[in-house]
Assembly symmetry: C2
Homo-oligomer: 591 residues x 2
C-alpha cells in the first residue's frame, strides 16, 4: 500500500527562507504566527494527513461511495470517522474568518495544509475543499443573516457545502443553463432542475449539506446575464438555526468515474426545493467566479499534491527494487542486482518529478502569499499588484500544475514497471485521481483561453507588465556563480514569453482564432517561465546556506530543471507563432 | 458507448499509393495479393472489428476475467463466442506459414488487421496476439516435431499460446530468474516455479494453452547464460496430437489492473509441470528475443490502435456537443450554441491526434514492409538493409508510438471534458488500456537503452548510416512547392538527429551514464524524425492527386504536423546534449 509523508521540511524552507513570511508580521493572520507556531501547524497537519487520511485512501478507491434507494449516500469505510476528527481538530476553519469561528490564518498556511490533505487522500480532501468554496461564495455575496446562519456551522465542519453549476447540456457554457427559480411570497424561491457532476453532493459525513446553486429566476434574461445564485440547504434551518425540515432535493445517482472514487459525484435533482437568493438577482455568476478563482488554485494544488504522493512512492520503489547493474559498475555488489535508482532513465523520471514538484510548491506558496497580500496588505500598490498577479496567474497555476502533475504521476507509475499497472501498488490510483484535475473547475483549455482572452489584456496589460518587471528585477539583482545560471534561465524564458506575448498582441487581435490556437502553448510557456522564476528564488535562498546538505540538494535539483525543463521554452514559442492557419484549415466534415 | 470504425481508406492510401505494394508482387505472400483481394481483406477485417469486437470492449472492461477456485478462468461475456468466430474466419493464420495452415500473407497486411482488432478491443486482441508470439518462437526455435505438434492447432486458433518470462523478483533483469527445469529420462523436463503477469495465461477461449516458459536447467550457469526455453502445454498432447492429460500447472491468481480487464493477467504456478526444451540448452533468451522483437512492433501498434479509437470518439463528440460560440462568430446560428469543434483548442487536440495517427500508421506499415523485405526479398542487399532497419527502428516503434499513443488517448478524453472522466462514455478505458503499452514487452526506458546501447553501434553503425542516407535521398529527390516544406522538415529533424547521434557517440562512450541519461530524448527525437519522414512520403503521394478531397485533407493534416510537432526536435536535441551530470548528481540518500 502506498504511503504518504508530508513535505513539512520543504514548506519550512519556502515559508521561512524563500518567501520570508516573518516580514509580513504586521498583517492580519500573520501577526500571531511566529516560526514555532507555523512549524507546529505544518507538523500537525502533516501528521494528520499521514496517519489518518493516507491509510484510507486506497480503501476509498476500492469501495467508492454507495447510493441507497432513498437517495442517501454512504462514503467508504473510515471516511466518516476521519472527517469527524478533521472537523474536531479545527482543520476546516484554518484560513477562515475568526468572526465566524475560523482561525484567520493566512492562505499560505492553509494551502500548505491543503496540499498535505490532498496528497494523502484527494477524494477525502474534496469534502472540506468544496465546503471552503461554498464558504467563500457566502462570504463574497451572502447577506449578514445568511452568513450568521451558515458560516459558523460550515467553518466548524458540522455542515458541508457544494457548488452546483453543471447541467447535462451545459458545462463550460453556463449561459445555457435551465434550472429555474420561482419567487415565493416569503422572499424565498422554489428551485427546480437537474444538476450533474456535483462533487460531495450527498454523503454521510455531516448533518447538513449547503448547496450553492446557479439558477435562472422566472422571466430573467437569457444567457449569462440571467443567472442568479441560491443557497439551498438539504435540511432547512429551524428557528434555532439547526438542521430542520428535509428540503425537496435528492441525489438521483452517482457517476462511475475513472478515479476519486471516495468522493461522491452526484446527479442532484431539485424538485421545487426551497432556497434563498445570494447577492443580487442575475448577478450569480460574479459571486461564483470569485469562489471559482480560489477553487482553481485549489485544483492546481491537487496536481502538485498527487505528484508529490506518486513521487514519494516511486522513489521508495526505485531504492528498493533490485534489477540490473549500473552502467558504470555494480553499486550493490553483494546483492543479486543494483537498486534501479542507479539507472539513468529511472533517475530521469525521478528528477523530472522532484524538480517539478519543488518549483510547483514554491509557485503555490508564492501565489498564496499574493492572495494574502491582495486581501490584507496595508499598502494600496501592493494590494493592486498582488490582485493583478492573482488574476493573471490563477489559470496558469490551475492548468500548468495539473497538466504537469498528471504527467508527473504517470512518470511515477512508470518507475514501477509492471507493478505500476497493478492496482494493488496504488500508483494507478494516483494517475486516475490526477486525471480529473485537467478537467474540473474549467478545463485546461478554458484556462488557456481565460489567460490569453481576458487576463493578458486586463487594465491595459498592467498585470503582465508588472510581472515582467518583477522577472527583470530578479535578473538585475544578480548573484554569484551558483545563482547566475538560474538568472540566465529566467532571462531566457522571460525573453521567449515576451516574444510570444508580442506575437499574441499583434496577431490575436487580427484573428481571434490565432489567440485561441496559441493559447495552450502560451500558457505552457508562461508556466515554465514561472517555475523557472521560482527556481531562481529558491536558488538565491539556498545559495546562502551552500554547504548544508538540504540546500545543496535543492541546488542540484534546480540545475536538473535548468538542463531538462528550460529547453522547452523555445519549442512552445515556435508553436505559439504557428498560429491558427494549419490548426483551423480543415472543414468540420474533412475530419 | 464508444464505437469503432476501421481505418480502411487510410490503409488503402498507404499500401497502394504511399508504399506501392504492387511493386513487390514477385515476393512470396505478395504474389496472390492483387488490389481487390487486399482491399477485400481490409474491409472484412474492419467489419469484424467494428461489428464483433467493438461491441464487447466495454463489457470486457466492466466484467473483467474471473478466476474460480479450481484455477480456471472465465473471460467476459461475448469473448468466447467472438474468439470462436475469429478463429473460424481464419484471422489467426493471416500472416502465418502456409506449411502449417497459415495464409502466408505479408506482415504489412496482418499488421493492418491487427490494428483494427486492437483498436476495437485491445484486451481481446491480446489472446491471438500472444498466440502469434508463441508461434513465432516455435517457428524460430522449435524442432520439426514440435512444429508439427503445435503450430497447426495454434495457427487455426484451436489452441492459444503464452510467453512466460517475468517472476516476482525479476522482470527486466531476466538473469535473476529461478524457475527450474529438471531433465527426465524420457527427454522431457519437469518445470517448477512461479511466473507472474502472464497475459492470456488461463482462460476459456481455447481447448488448450501452450505456454512458452523460460527456466534454468539444473546445474546451468547463473545469469542470462543459463536460461532455456520450454514448451509446456496445459494439456499434454496425446498420441493423436489432441489435448490429453492435464499438466501440473495452474493459474494461481489474477491481477487487478488499471486496464485491459478483458485479458487475464495470471500468476502461473508450475509444479513439476511436464515440458520440452525448445532449441538448445541455455540458448532460450535468443529465441525469446526473436519473438519479442516482433511483439514489440505489436505493442507499438496497440499505441496507434488505441489512439485511433480514442480519436474517432473524441471527434464524434466534438461535432455533436454544443457549447459556446466560435471566436469568429456563430457557426450554428440556429442552435443554442456551436459544436465544440469550432474552438481552436479543441481543434488542437483533434489535430494533434489526427496528424500523429496518420504518421504512426504509415510508420507501422513501412516497418511491416521492412519485415517482409527482410524475410522475403530475393536481393541480399535489400534483405540486409531491411533487417538493419528492423533492428534499429523496433525500439522506436514500440516506445515512441506508445508514449505518444497514450498522450493522444488522453487528449481524446480531454475533448470530452467532464464526460471523459465518467466511465460510461468509454474514454477512460482507452486511457487506462493504453497505459500498459508503455510498460510491457520491455518498458520504454529499456527500449531507449536498447536503441542507444545496442542498435546504434550495430555493425559499425551500418543501420543508422543507411537510414540517414535514405532520409538524404528523400530530400535530394526534391518536390514541388506542396512537397517542399515536408522535405525541409525531414532535413531539419535529420540534422538534429545527426547532431544528437554524434554527441552520443562522442560522450556516451566516455561515460556510459551519458548514453543512458540521453536515451529517452534521443529516442523521442528519432521517433519524431521518423514520423516527419513518413509525412514526407505521404505528402509526395498525396501531392500527385492534389485537388482530390481525401488527398487535400491529408496534406492539410501534414502541415499541422510540420507546425506543431516538428518544433519539438530542437528541444529534444538540447536535452540529449545536457547529458548525465545533473541527472546523476544526487546521491541516492539525497532524494
Amino acid at each position: 500500500m502506498p504511503s504518504y509523508s508530508a513535505p513539512v521540511r520543504d514548506y519550512q524552507f519556502l515559508l521561512h527562507e524563500v518567501l520570508g513570511v516573518s516580514q509580513y508580521s504586521n498583517l492580519p493572520g500573520f501577526s500571531d504566527l511566529d516560526k514555532e507556531t507555523l512549524d507546529a501547524i505544518l507538523e500537525e497537519g502533516g501528521k494528520f494527513a499521514s496517519e489518518v487520511l493516507a491509510p484510507i485512501n486506497r480503501t476509498g478507491d476500492i469501495q467508492g461511495c454507495t447510493r441507497h434507494d432513498d437517495g442517501s449516500v454512504t462514503t467508504p469505510d473510515g471516511f466518516k470517522d476521519a472527517y469527524k476528527q478533521f472537523a474536531e481538530a479545527g482543520w476546516m476553519g484554518l484560513g477562515q474568518d475568526p468572526e465566524y469561528g475560523g482561525q484567520g490564518l493566512p492562505h499560505i498556511l492553509s494551502l500548505a495544509v491543503a496540499e498535505m490533505t490532498s496528497g494523502a487522500n484527494m477524494a477525502f480532501g474534496m469534502y472540506p475543499g468544496l465546503t471552503g468554496g461554498a464558504v467563500r461564495a457566502l462570504v463574497a455575496g451572502g447577506s449578514e443573516d445568511q452568513k450568521q446562519m451558515y458560516l459558523p456551522k460550515m467553518i466548524s465542519g458540522e455542515w458541508t457545502g457544494t457548488m452546483n453549476l453543471t447541467e447535462p447540456h451545459c458545462g463550460t457554457d453556463l449561459g445555457l443553463l435551465r434550472t429555474k427559480a420561482v419567487p415565493q411570497a416569503d422572499g424565498s424561491y422554489r428551485i427546480s432542475g437537474q444538476k450533474i457532476w456535483i462533487s460531495s453532493g450527498e454523503h454521510d459525513l455531516s448533518s447538513n449539506i449547503i448547496h450553492l446553486v446557479l439558477a435562472r429566476i422566472e422571466g430573467a434574461p437569457d444567457g449569462v446575464k440571467g443567472i442568479s445564485l441560491f443557497v439551498v440547504p438539504k435540511f432547512l434551518p429551524d428557528a434555532n438555526g439547526d438542521a430542520g425540515e428535509r428540503n425537496t432535493l435528492q441525489c438521483g445517482g452517482l457517476e462511475e468515474k475513472m478515479g476519486i472514487h471516495g468522493n461522491a459525484t452526484c446527479v442532484m435533482n431539485y424538485d421545487g426545493a426551497k432556497g434563498w437568493l445570494v447577492g443580487e438577482e442575475n448577478k450569480g455568476l460574479k459571486i461564483m467566479f470569485v469562489m471559482m478563482n480560489e477553487a482553481r488554485l485549489g485544483v492546481g494544488l491537487q496536481g502538485l499534491a498527487i505528484a508529490e504522493a506518486a513521487y514519494q512512492n516511486s522513489l521508495a520503489f526505485a531504492k528498493d527494487r533490485l534489477q540490473g547493474r549500473s552502467l558504470t559498475g555494480p553499486k550493490n555488489p553483494d546483492g543479486p542486482a543494483d537498486p534501479i535508482i542507479v539507472h539513468p532513465d529511472v533517475r530521469r523520471m525521478l528528477m523530472d518529478q522532484k524538480s517539478f514538484i519543488a518549483a510547483a510548491r514554491c509557485f503555490i506558496a508564492w501565489a498564496a502569499l499574493q492572495a494574502d497580500l491582495e486581501h490584507n496588505s496595508d499598502d494600496a500598490d501592493t494590494r493592486e499588484k498582488a490582485g493583478d498577479y492573482m488574476a493573471l496567474l490563477t489559470p496558469i497555476v490551475k492548468a500548468y500544475l495539473t497538466d504537469k502533475g498528471f504527467l508527473s504521476a504517470s512518470n511515477g507509475l512508470q518507475v514501477f514497471g509492471g507493478s505500476g499497472y497493478v492496482e494493488e501498488w496504488g500508483m494507478s490510483q494516483f494517475v486516475r485521481d490526477a486525471r480529473i484535475t485537467l478537467i474540473y473547475e474549467g478545463t485546461n483549455g478554458v484556462q488557456a483561453l481565460d489567460l490569453v482572452g481576458r487576463k493578458l489584456a486586463m487594465n491595459g496589460m498592467r498585470p503582465i507588465t508588472s510581472f515582467f518587471a518583477e522577472l527583470d528585477a530578479c535578473v538585475a539583482e544578480g548573484g554569484d556563480e551558483t545563482v547566475k545560471p538560474f538568472l540566465d534561465a529566467v532571462a531566457s524564458t522571460k525573453a521567449a514569453l515576451k516574444e510570444a506575448t508580442d506575437w499574441l498582441v499583434e496577431n490575436g487581435l487580427k484573428d481571434f482564432n490565432n489567440a485561441g490556437a496559441s493559447s495552450h502553448d502560451y500558457l505552457q510557456l508562461f508556466g515554465l517561465t514561472c517555475l523557472t522564476y521560482m527556481w531562481a528564488l529558491m536558488a538565491k535562498a539556498a545559495a546562502k546556506k551552500a554547504g548544508d546538505p538540504f540546500h545543496d540538494t535543492k541546488l542540484k535539483t534546480g540545475r536538473y530543471f535548468l538542463d531538462r525543463w528550460v529547453p522547452e521554452a523555445g519549442m512552445h514559442l515556435a508553436k505559439v507563432k504557428a498560429g491558427a492557419a494549419s490548426m483551423m484549415a480543415l472543414e468540420s466534415e474533412e475530419f
